[in-house]
Symmetry: C2
Subunit: 346 residues, 2 copies
């Protein structure tokens, strides 16, 4: 097969005009059932595949979704992608993935590219509070937008999907408090890059409840920056006795910094991660972390992007969201997994 069959080949084989063949293949009305079946059979026999560019020009839809990640270096996003693709397999949908690498400029470029490709919806783990979502909505008004791992304050008409951030922070703080820690550092992005204010808000609330001074540490959340910042922290006159991170990925930077400065994790410095990556239990020492099902998060993301969630909600149990036709936000449940990276304060 070196020549792609074209619609005129399908039409010839079915004995109809190309226009009629096109109508049938695109499910438009005005084609008799028997003729439609004959055209579909001819298309199947020839292995005809519709040209998505032609379809996109005609319908404005490309049967694809964009997934724009602020930091694809973090392996948790692999689970999220796997879950989304799992959900997408049965529908004829392509998920296009791109990495903003913590750059506002690259984020905007990717959004422009996605919009130009006519993706039908955008899921975005934004670099900052989500200003580039406005660009997306200017370019593709009405297309669904799912905001991932972000509070996105001030954005209406977006669906939010992420872990239960407030509960995750509270679990970590309470666990460390019970171990006797009173000086807890909390790693968070610089304000201008911060996507999820809920984490910091909840940390400050939890500290207030427990009478602790909050100690947020603002740092870009890539591995090198975390390592450098935590090394400086451990060199300070009053290093914290514990560190809460936003991911196992950044927790690796804390391990590296602790090792560099001769602090033993779990004894001199307690560390709490987030995500329970496959490696978390294999680290030295095994990492106390917040477990979250990244694949489930990815499935929830796809359902909301594609509208499957709203469809299901409409058919749902009368006692459980009946009549709901709009997708709703999704907070993935979290739980604390205690391992040896956290211990009693010394």
């Amino acid at each position: 097969m070196t020549q792609r069959p074209k619609i005129k080949d399908v039409a010839r084989r079915a004995g109809v005009s190309p226009t009629l063949a096109s109508f049938a293949l695109n499910g438009r009305e005005g084609v008799g059932e028997e003729t439609r079946q004959r055209i579909l059979a001819a298309a199947a026999e020839l292995g005809y595949r519709a040209n998505p560019y032609a379809r996109a020009l005609r319908t404005g839809s490309s049967n694809s979704f964009g997934l724009l990640i602020r930091n694809l270096s973090n392996p948790i996003f692999l689970d999220v992608i796997a879950g989304a693709q799992e959900a997408a397999v049965s529908s004829e949908t392509t998920i296009l993935i791109a990495d903003a690498d913590y750059s506002f400029e690259r984020e905007r470029q990717h959004i422009e590219r996605f919009a130009a490709h006519h993706v039908d919806g955008l899921a975005i783990a934004p670099v900052g509070p989500g200003e580039s979502v406005d660009l997306w909505r200017d370019l593709r008004p009405g297309a669904p937008t799912v905001v991932l791992y972000a509070t996105a304050p001030g954005l209406d008409d977006v669906i939010r999907v992420g872990p239960d951030a407030r509960r995750a922070v509270r679990l970590a703080v309470d666990h460390l408090y019970e171990l006797g820690h009173r000086d807890i550092a909390f790693l968070t992005a610089p304000r201008e890059l911060m996507a999820d204010h809920d984490r910091l808000d909840e940390f400050e609330l939890a500290c207030a409840d427990l009478g602790l001074p909050p100690r947020p540490v603002f740092t870009p959340l890539n591995l090198a920056a975390v390592m450098e910042r935590v090394t400086a922290l451990l060199d300070s006159p009053t290093p914290p006795t514990a560190v809460i991170t936003n991911s196992d990925y950044t927790a690796h930077g804390v391990y590296l910094a602790a090792r560099e400065r001769g602090f033993t994790v779990g004894r001199d410095l307690s560390v709490v991660g987030h995500d329970d990556l496959p490696t978390a239990e294999l680290l030295d020492p095994p990492l106390t972390t917040i477990r979250m099902d990244g694949r489930a998060l990815g499935r929830a993301l796809f359902d909301r992007l594609s509208g499957a969630d709203a469809d299901r909600a409409g058919d749902g149990d009368p006692g459980d969201g009946a009549g709901r036709t709009e997708p709703v936000d999704h907070a993935e449940p979290v739980e604390l997994v205690v391992r040896r990276s956290t211990g009693p304060v010394r």
Copy 2:
């Protein structure tokens, strides 16, 4: 901006016909320089973006490349993707990523989708020996094909990019032999899924050179399958004293199996990984592995996909590939990093 400017808006602003505007914006000949400048200025003022679908229909090119990965769960591919995107940033190119998840069927579906989207080239880490590359070439004859992490025997006109697999295997076997190991298991994919015969060939050669019985272990290379297979191996009457894996990712499965069966890694069972992921040095015990620069691999991949390699080669040093106009295969250098997961045989 709720209405995308169209080419006719650009034409009106520049005071030319839409056809002339289109010619100028697509760099075709027959447009006077002053007129061309006026049209480009009008396009810039209006924020006009070419519609890639229209361009793809017209030129057959979409300014995008497909990257099809057999197992996106392995974090090394994040580095490869990051490197490729790094190289792609300066050109106006989108890299579309998809995951075959070790399924031949999904691999073929993704290739059909990529071809239908008119991607200009395909980079593929194939599930098996690369049969689906034939499908790709039927659908997109003449488009460049880069085969990643695979020998792809019998495939002509493909460019191969990967780590120096033969040297990686030899480094691992020699290291274990020097530590006294004479019974070394070698994890490799089942023959029908095997993408890289070089690894197994080299293992058998190295064993023959050293007078060792080769002990290949054929298993699907996902975490669960590796863990199950290695657990069975450790339960056998004659467990090996060392295991060589194809990646740090699969080495995690060996760690989990060893732990489950009460074997201490580095003492009862030596383990060699491949990739030197950021976590390798943080594991308990730190992992002996083959270091490879995944980002450099990704950059090499993009250069070959886009033809940048051939362009550069043509301008190159006379003593160093002068006159070369075709991209060549790339074997990324590897080195052994010895840590505590390997020790003297007991």
